[in-house]
């Protein structure tokens, strides 16, 4: 199959996802508002920040951005599970279209949604007093790291949806992403936690991204030298889950 057909199929499947958004604007808006709500709740209601030097909001915003990327896993999994449940996937698979264009459409749409979400959240963060001090290039670098983490979560989500394939398991994952997301340095520094917990938190791949992003933003909790880990961790996850997901999709009902 020619590259032009592959591109065209991927674009058609992306358009499909965008058309879904146009049909359900409320759902899209709710999806964008939820992390902002979390940000405001943690910023004003929960008010943590044990052992953090400087303003908590400066620590919190990069943490929330990271957490939102990780929670994206659950959104992707829900969408893929719903899709697989429907006969339309059978039609796609019986058509002469590029293998995996369905998955590409899903990932492009999810990445657009996440990028939009990131921009919105940084905007709201700015309003509540968060500032990035690292300059424009560092800001773009931080966004890049966040989206890379999201991309890894996306393929984990796709893979989980295909091996689980049932609504009940989506629910289990929806619940499990909370402890996984919170067992990180998104809201607090590992030093403020009991020893063993601090170790778990420090090793959570999402902590690497949060630390590197804080560093790039010039926010408290940032340490230089974590960018490599923030690049390598998602790439490792991708190296495992991307081929698994594509392979699984090709052999869906075999």
């Amino acid at each position: 199959m020619s590259a032009a057909y592959v591109m065209s199929d991927c674009w058609t499947m992306t358009r499909r996802e965008l058309a879904h958004w146009a049909r359900q604007p409320v759902q899209v808006v709710v999806g964008l508002i939820f992390p902002i709500m979390m940000l405001l709740m943690f910023g004003y209601l929960v008010g943590g920040g044990r052992g953090i030097e400087g303003e908590y909001v400066d620590f919190l915003v990069p943490g929330m951005l990271t957490l939102t990327m990780v929670f994206g896993l659950e959104g992707t999994m829900t969408a893929v599970t719903q899709d697989l449940d429907k006969g339309v996937i059978d039609r796609f698979r019986s058509m002469p279209m590029a293998d995996g264009a369905v998955l590409v459409g899903r990932s492009v749409a999810d990445m657009i949604q996440s990028a939009t979400g990131l921009l919105l959240m940084t905007g709201v963060g700015y309003v509540i007093g968060w500032r990035a001090h690292g300059g424009f290039v560092a800001f773009l670098g931080a966004m890049g790291l966040l989206l890379l983490l999201r991309f890894a979560m996306l393929w984990i989500g796709i893979h989980l949806a295909m091996i689980a394939g049932r609504a009940e398991l989506v629910q289990a994952v929806q619940i499990l992403v909370w402890p996984i997301g919170f067992l990180s340095n998104a809201f607090a520094v590992p030093e403020s936690m009991p020893g063993w917990l601090g170790t778990v938190v420090a090793w959570n791949p999402m902590s690497a991204t949060a630390t590197a992003v804080r560093d790039l933003f010039g926010n408290p909790g940032g340490e230089p030298g974590h960018v490599v880990a923030a690049v390598v961790w998602p790439l490792v996850l991708l190296a495992v889950f991307f081929p698994l997901a594509v392979r699984k999709f090709r052999r869906l009902s075999v």
Binding site: D9, R16, A19, H20, R23, G87, D90, R91, P96, M97
Partner: protein, 316 residues
């Protein structure tokens, strides 16, 4: 004309269950072939293998001249599939769906749009506008599904229980559409649980049971093997069964004493009914129920599979 579908000795196992057990099938180009069988007989498995959605374990499977295993892409360019569940995007409108499938068939944006309009018109869906498919009636959804299967005027069309779950009107709509297609030279493989559906649409029928074809032929040939219509009379008084037996037409009258029922094959339905009622009345025999019925699918199966089992016994 060459054969559009050739299946030889196809086997497929799911865990413990042998879904296809050496199924064989030949469908001539431009004909409608019915696969008739109960739930779990292997009809859907067969269709999914033919449509490249499932890989078989053993055997030869060719569609439109291409091996489904080694030339899946070539097969996909030549087939249309109407599965048991509507294979369209429920959130999108009818036109959006057809245009999307057109693009995926690489028609290009303009032709995909034009083809979508053409098909909507042809299947009486032109006035559905932007309404999402999930708000369509069952019949409309199936028609859209059928339209989606026909984007590129496929050489071979698979219809897997196309009317299951539809009301009689929806069923009629789908039948009408299928008939109009066949005129265009498309080969159709149709699976169904309804004898009547196969009867209405198919040139030839293969009866499938436990993963293999147990009989095939035209609808008339199969019916002849089962026998025609029957008349059943249930008496109020079991003591008069023998008397009633003599009143029924024909010589092959059977008696079911537990159910106080006499039963006989008939050729002219209405005449047989009128005669029986008259004869019973004249003899003063009270009937609780009189019914004319066509052979049911159950009877076709009892007949066909029963015959097979006897043959096995004799051989053993």
């Amino acid at each position: 004309m060459t054969d559009a579908i050739v299946v030889e000795g196809a086997r497929k196992r799911y865990g413990d269950k042998q879904a296809l057990d050496g199924l064989g099938l030949v469908v001539g180009g431009g004909t409608v072939h019915g696969l008739l069988g109960p739930n779990g007989a292997g009809k859907t498995t067969t269709v999914r293998i033919l449509a490249t959605l499932l890989r078989h374990d053993e055997g030869l499977v060719r569609v439109a001249g291409f091996d489904v295993r080694t030339h899946a892409a070539d097969v996909r360019r030549r087939i249309g599939l109407l599965g048991q569940h509507a294979a369209v995007d429920e959130e999108l409108g009818g036109r959006q769906n057809l245009e999307m499938f057109g693009r995926l068939h690489h028609l290009g944006a303009r032709r995909a749009g034009a083809r979508a309009d053409e098909l909507l018109e042809r299947f009486g869906l032109a006035d559905t506008g932007r309404k999402p498919v999930k708000r369509y009636s069952g019949g409309m959804r199936r028609r859209l599904d059928l339209a989606a299967s026909l984007i590129t005027e496929p050489a071979v069309l698979f219809l897997d229980e196309p009317t299951t779950g539809l009301d009689p009107r929806g069923r009629g709509e789908v039948w009408e559409s299928v008939r109009s297609l066949v005129g265009g030279g498309t080969t159709v493989l149709l699976t169904t649980q309804y004898l009547e559906e196969a009867d209405q649409l198919a040139d030839r029928i293969s009866v499938v049971d436990r993963g293999r074809v147990v009989a095939d032929g035209t609808a008339d040939e199969l019916k002849a093997r089962v026998g025609g219509d029957r008349i059943d009379v249930v008496l109020r008084d079991a003591r008069r069964l023998d008397e009633a037996t003599k009143l029924l037409p024909g010589s092959e009258v059977s008696v079911d004493r537990d159910r106080r029922r006499v039963s006989a094959p008939v050729t002219d339905r209405m005449a047989a009914l009128a005669e029986t009622v008259r004869a019973l009345e004249a003899a003063g025999i009270e009937a609780e129920d009189i019914a004319l019925r066509r052979p049911t699918l159950d009877e076709v199966f009892l007949h066909l599979t029963g015959g097979r089992e006897q043959a096995t016994e004799v051989a053993a």
